[in-house]
């Protein structure tokens, strides 16, 4: 170590979140642009025209629940109600599955509480056959696409009805038919894959586009950089969504570089259109996605959208957020709750009321309860109603090579010798 007395010693900066357990959470210094203030570039606008939007916040719903400004997507009340319903159903699903995990019916679950507007409203802004490459917190896409809840639960229970044959950790859904790409535990790997899918669509002269999601924590992975580079180089018809919910397990967004800049601003260096959006404002989410989809569909290239939101609950059923952040954060979060805000909007425009909302919540709870009952007929984790043991060897390759066939026979013989049921 060399030390020169005339120079001050160097200091390493290690980011620290504003509030820790026991602290009062105070977001008053937090700069929230007014709803309606952000301009809306034309479809044919260049990435450069989005520059300021990368540092702003696209917001449509004002504090009174009115939809204001150029980003108002002017959706019919029916569509807004459908988005609200998808969000409410997603929350009810999460509640029920969280409880199922606590009851020991499955090993693991992850809620998306507080982030429902993102996946749900986006599903309405995309075509049904646009390919989604989600992370593990976009269950709202499936629910908004009316994917059967029973099928999702079968996967969570790894039971006899699980299309993934119990091979995957709960919530790592996959359905080609639902245009929902197989979820991987490895973070951010889906980003370059989505870009590749979009490139393939362009190579074939298709009209479908791709969309992909990651959290702000995952933007630190090399895959994010590669995806952005390939997306811009080939002008891939893809939407890259960064869900900035402030937390990557126990690490706040500062550890992904969020102290110095916004995640939307990452787009600028790549020459990609970047948008920063109020992630708890379903109408802003819809409008931003719609514009990004139009850009992709008209060969204007990729769009990066940062959705500014808050992870209202723990990272997963294996996590206890009270160990690393202030318990007050959730209630003081200045962008509120996405469901309450959309509900207020519908009430404000005279298209909704408390009674109908309560009835909808009851419907959702009943639908989830009925689906759960149905799914549990196929078994829950660890209660014997799993797939036959030999399915373990299927799908490693298209056909079973000799060494896997040998291992399969070995396993079955050992199980039979030990008196274990193999089917």
């Amino acid at each position: 170590m060399s030390s020169r007395p005339n120079l001050p010693p160097l200091r390493l900066h290690v980011p620290e979140p504003s509030f820790r357990p026991g602290d009062d959470a105070d977001f008053s210094a937090f700069d929230i642009p007014a709803a309606g203030a952000a301009p809306r570039p034309a479809v044919e606008a260049t990435p450069h025209d989005f520059r300021d939007l990368s540092y702003s916040l696209v917001r449509v719903l004002d504090d009174d629940g009115r939809a204001v400004g150029p980003w108002d997507p002017k959706l019919s009340p029916d569509t807004v109600r459908a988005i609200l319903k998808a969000m409410a159903l997603t929350r009810a699903f999460d509640e029920r599955m969280y409880r199922a995990q606590r009851q020991g019916k499955t090993s693991f679950y992850m809620k998306c509480t507080g982030e429902e507007a993102i996946a749900c409203a986006q599903a309405f802004a995309l075509h049904r056959d646009d390919m989604c490459f989600p992370s593990y917190r976009q269950q709202g896409l499936l629910i908004a696409r009316d994917w059967p809840l029973v099928d999702m639960m079968n996967q969570i229970y790894s039971n006899k009805g699980d299309r993934l044959q119990g091979k995957q950790l709960p919530i790592m859904y996959s359905t080609k038919e639902g245009s929902f790409f197989s979820i991987s535990g490895n973070l951010a790997t889906q980003l370059p894959q989505a870009v590749g899918w979009a490139m393939a669509s362009a190579i074939k002269g298709d009209t479908r586009i791709a969309a992909t999601w990651c959290g702000e924590g995952s933007t630190a992975e090399g895959d994010f950089h590669s995806a952005m580079t390939f997306a811009t180089v080939y002008k891939a018809p893809v939407i890259l969504n960064v869900v900035n919910n402030q937390w990557a397990i126990s690490s706040f967004s500062g550890f992904a570089g969020g102290e110095a800049t916004t995640f939307a601003a990452r787009a600028i260096g790549y020459g990609i259109a970047g948008l920063r959006v109020d992630g708890n404002d379903a109408l802003a989410v819809y409008a931003a996605t719609e514009r990004a989809a139009e850009r992709a569909r008209t060969n204007q290239g990729p769009t990066l959208i940062e959705f500014f939101t808050y992870r209202a609950e723990g990272h997963s059923t294996s996590d206890d957020p009270s160990a690393y952040r202030s318990a007050q954060e959730r209630e003081k979060w200045p962008l509120g709750d996405p469901i309450s805000r959309l509900k207020q909007h519908l009430v404000t425009i005279g298209e909704w009321d408390d009674e109908r909302h309560a009835a909808m919540d009851l419907d959702c709870a009943n639908a989830v309860k009925a689906a759960q009952k149905e799914a549990e007929k196929n078994g829950i984790l660890g209660h014997g109603m799993h797939q036959p043991m030999s399915t373990m060897f299927e799908g490693v390759f298209e056909t079973l090579p000799w060494h896997l066939e040998e291992q399969r026979q070995e396993m079955l013989a050992e199980a039979r010798a030990a008196g274990i049921e193999t089917t």
């Binding site: 535990g185 000799w402 060494h403």
Partner: protein
Amino acid sequence: MNMIQAINSALDVLMDRDPNIVVMGEDVGYFGGVFRATAGLQSKYGKTRVFDTPISELGIIGVAVGMGAYGLRPVPEIQFADYIYPALDQLVSEAARLRYRSAGDFTAPITVRSPFGGGIFGGQTHSQSPEGIFTHVSGLKTVIPSTPYDAKGLLIAAIEDNDPVIFFEPKRIYNGPFSGHYDRPAQNWSQHPAGEVPDGYYRIDLGKAQVVRPGEALTVLAYGTMVHVCAGVIEEQGIDAELIDLRTLLPLDIETIEASVKKTGRCMIVHEATRTSGFGAELSALVQERCFYHLEAPIERVTGYDTPYPHSLEWAYFPGPVRIGEALKKIMKD
């Protein structure tokens, strides 16, 4: 044809038949590849089917996995096998697992071509043989040709395969077979029977080894450049060895290996890759398990040493005629 031309021909023949095949990688487009393996393909099939990529191995493979999920049949190139590591997550966690984790809903029918192996004064980062990393991954197939004829037939089979295939091309023998005698004039494929390659379509099924030289005294298992080095040493020593070119490491042709060792009672395994946990260890274990009562001597492994690939001491490192020759004598004495 030399091996480069054979590979080029395989790509050409298949691209002509299947519009879903795309070729991508660093410098593979306009320029035709640093080894010329993709020369002429872009002008023939267009820029959307043969194109240059950014210098990002993870990006190349990640994008290829996405294209495969769409329904294309991508053939990405990694310029040197030494540079495949940034793509390991995409290969191991994604390409290899996609069919399994989605229960067949999505697949990754990609073929990753990459020049590999030493003997060219490539030093640490242009000589490696990382096949053992990939044979350890469930869900990947690993193929290594040793002649132009095999290279074309195997590459066609690899691209047509619906599972991800790692296709390592021994760059030391791109232009001609190599006996390991680096001080002798270079040979070229025009004098070798396997340099005769049909212009059209043919395939060599994956998972099938080839007995290059039948024999009774011992079995030599090799692949890539080492097939030719071993053939040379066997001839020089006048030993009646059975030389088997594995061609596909996974799935392995265990029947051919087992039948040979049961006949000869001795087995020698030769590869360029480092020894510890190398593919030779798997071969040795399989032979031991299956041929134990037929073995008359311990199984011998001649491999690269457990060091990074050196530059100036290449010929001391490379499993050449001296090292293989000594091992042959030893195993015959045991």
